[in-house]
Symmetry: C2
Subunit: 135 residues, 2 copies
């Protein structure tokens, strides 16, 4: 079973433009073509794209993802680099989770602040522990 570029785009919630852009940037050297040049995506290609999306979601720039893709092409000699890369990603994601949890706390506070103000009809209810004009 193979898929066209627009089918894959739909599956991954991307556009065909974006997939071609990724290809141009060297993120998909594995995708095969029909004799006349049309891209044919295999299931494994889609799985690989999901990993790419995963790396992207950690904030990894496309150029670094390409470096990883290149390492994959290079075989066993780059196992250490790839392992290190994922360890580094793990650290990054852990930090992001911590950051996001702090953010969530602040947002919860703001929700309470505004709920109370809204019930009172005025922000003046927080007069004594307001930050300033902006809250």
């Amino acid at each position: 079973m193979t898929y066209s570029i627009s089918e894959v785009a739909k599956k991954l919630n991307l556009t065909a433009y974006t997939l071609r852009y990724y290809d141009k940037e060297g993120l998909m050297p594995f995708v095969e073509r029909t004799p006349n040049g049309t891209r044919l995506f295999k299931e494994t290609d889609i799985d690989a794209l999901k990993i790419i999306e995963c790396l992207k979601s950690t904030g990894m720039p496309i150029k670094e993802i390409k470096r990883f893709i290149d390492w994959c092409s290079d075989g066993d000699s780059t196992l250490q680099e790839r392992y290190d890369m994922f360890l580094e990603r793990k650290t990054a994601v852990k930090a992001q989770l911590e950051e996001l949890n702090k953010t969530m706390e602040l947002i919860d506070h703001k929700c309470n602040y505004y709920k109370t103000a809204l019930d009172a009809g005025t922000e003046d209810i927080h007069r004594n522990n307001k930050i300033g004009t902006f809250n």
Copy 2:
């Protein structure tokens, strides 16, 4: 106690360029100036900037943050809008946390994959449950 733009930049891990850019975009209408135009940041201004940074960290674009700042200037008539905004942010952050947790799981899998491969000296150890050429 007031602070100069570069002191604030250092405190918030931003550059003075960035702070001036935020100001130009209307994110800091509350910052006062000396007679000759130099910005003077109060503690409460720094607290407000922290909220701005918090919103930014949820992926909120600067133009939407400005909308919130404008609402704050408008007073009690915009309490509902501001409450709704924070509820929406809360939903967004919750989704981001879920996404990031899934990402973390995948990355953990990859770490194990590469640890095993590295110990074996070859990726072939995963021959039977490999995705494709890229893993």
